[in-house]
Subunit: 376 residues, 2 copies
């Protein structure tokens, strides 16, 4: 939690209007600067729009990672998904960027599905349920087009033999006191919750464990997961491994407004990956918070405010990669030439084109799970 | 810890002269009474000397277990060994009794080797070391003659996939506060230590998990392990499983006196299973605390005190099953007819006969490990 703020960011809660720059100071991460953007361009031949637009805005040790890369020490990627419900488009955002990283750097990806994490947190959730959700969620991951040859997806409960020894080594170096500080836990939290962060740390060193030599690791994740990796980065060097580097994104806002983050449990604020075109249209038209004016006349005169308009923000963060097209929308909306209904229609079309392909791939993924899944 | 006592019994420390009756009251266990002894006799045709002599003296729910047994619900056995050093004869004592239970009741035995437990506790101990010790310790277990068809030995780190889901279910029901109360931990203890008790609880329900129906479980263990199973017994019914029954033994005292328990790290007080006949003779002759008098004349006149004499206690608890022979020794020593040197010589001979066979079987066990070991 960030003291003296109107917002709160922990792995278990995001609320309020997040001041991301303030957050990086509190968390001790660094903003991605132009020098680093140029590095990305050098290696990949382009700059991903999520980098240019500061959707991925913060990092830890990216410079170190690139120095290693320059010395021919290739890195692998690690990200994850804790199943607690269906996948919404906000979940996909960092994974789309992760796929880009995989493609551009030819990097292996470990995709962790900690099916125990949300089970520990929610009384109502059984391990059977999270496991079932895991297998549902995996379809969305595969649908994004990760390379089956370079991607390993695993559930913690099915990969525990591969993970447990390393989790033990990590947990020996983390006191209950550290956990309380990092996650705001008390003595009333259960011992699964206390132990869990050591399981989340494992994939950050697992390639090094398997290969018997240090392999650099880059973890793309939404900034709310940072407390886990802050703890992990303190411990990992004590075990003789490289500290993992990290790259952080902001949260795709829920339909209702640019505060907090999208959540499947507040379904009216989220577009699920399985939503039909009609549902998508309906949700956006009805619920997407608008930066438009109260009357047509006022809007034409004074213009809309794209900065607080969720439809515009979704285009910016995820659905309109083309800078010129985005700029065009921005100025037309701000100048009053484009109405809220028109802006929303652009988003509806973009989301539905995206989801049509995604849903086809998701269906196809049902038969491809074994190409990605690793089990003990 | 037992308040207002001169002794302390926790899974991590035993010191002082343990008042076992007081301990059962504090722990909330029951003394094994004559009615239960008769039950044992009914089922097995005999009463093991460790039962008759109250070496195994306390229990939880043995009556319930026997009621189930009468209704044709057979139980399985579960015990364990946390590797931190070589095996001494004090470790073997409860396992010898466990083998008797296996033979007499035809019971399956799960033998857990939690190779992470002492690793969590001791800075100087690596997981590689505890694993190496585990494989050494397993030889002593197999040497005792357990049935390979009815015994499964496993290391936690190698069996983690089979165990982790159940450990998660258990840990969700245990707060950090409960752990602090049961084990005396503080926020300075590491999160591995906090989580560990849920791994120790798993084998108490693992047969039920595997068979998909409730199977009664009996856990023979030295009474210092009780805090683990006290916590486990509170949680296990919440998951729909039978509470495991338990049968508890006292500690074989170290050579130096009848306080505390034998420890491999205080080697002069312990007979290791690999000690040569000369070393055994040397240790007992030199170090075994004697209940004899200061001078021969005084001993002949006033007699020795077998109750504080370690050699006599070892014969009673482990090495002389024959009541008549033991009684004979008792009265001869108490009457001054038998000298300390003679008493010690009886013990030396007994221990060396035992170890000669044990060491042969231990050697033979090297090639039999795969018959017992289960891995994921």
């Amino acid at each position: 939690m960030v003291p003296d703020s109107d917002f709160s960011v922990t792995p278990y809660d995001v609320s309020g209007a997040v001041d991301y720059e303030k957050l990086t100071k509190q968390f001790g991460t660094k903003l991605i600067d132009d020098k680093l953007l140029k590095k990305f361009e050098k290696y990949t031949g382009e700059t991903h729009f999520m980098l240019r637009r500061k959707v991925f805005f913060s990092h830890r040790d990216l410079d170190w990672l690139f120095n290693k890369y320059d010395k021919n020490e290739k890195f692998y990627l690690y990200t994850g998904r804790a199943p607690s419900g269906p996948i919404h488009i906000g979940h996909l955002m960092p994974w789309i960027f992760t796929k880009w990283l995989q493609d551009k750097f030819g990097a292996k990806l470990l995709f962790q599905i900690p099916d125990e994490e949300k089970f520990f947190r929610k009384d109502s959730l059984s391990l059977e349920q999270t496991k079932k959700l895991a297998y549902d969620n995996i379809l969305d991951i595969i649908a994004l087009g990760f390379s089956p040859k370079k991607t390993e997806i695993f559930l913690d409960t099915e990969y525990a033999k591969s993970m447990y020894s390393t989790a033990c080594r990590i947990s020996k170096n983390i006191t209950a006191s550290t956990i309380k500080g990092a996650f705001g836990f008390t003595d009333s939290n259960n011992i699964g919750e206390f132990f869990y962060t050591s399981m989340q740390a494992v994939p950050a060193v697992l390639e090094s464990v398997k290969q018997g030599k240090n392999v650099p690791c880059l973890i793309p994740y939404a900034i709310d997961q940072d407390p886990h990796f802050r703890v992990a980065r303190d411990v990992i060097p004590k075990l003789g491994f490289y500290k993992p580097a990290a790259i952080h994104c902001k949260f795709l806002p829920p339909l209702q407004g640019v505060e907090g983050k999208m959540s499947s449990s507040k379904e009216m604020g989220a577009i699920l990956t399985t939503d039909s075109p009609e549902v998508v249209r309906d949700k956006i038209m009805k619920y997407a918070f608008s930066g438009g004016r109260d009357t047509l006349k006022e809007h034409r005169e004074k213009g809309g405010n794209p900065d607080i308009d969720v439809s515009y923000q979704w285009l910016r963060m995820m659905f309109e990669p083309d800078d010129k097209k985005l700029e065009n929308i921005y100025f037309k909306y701000k100048g009053g030439e484009m109405l809220t209904g028109e802006l929303k229609q652009i988003l509806v079309d973009k989301v539905n084109v995206f989801l049509k392909k995604h849903q086809l791939e998701r269906k196809r993924a049902e038969k491809r799970v074994d190409k990605f899944l690793v089990r003990d």
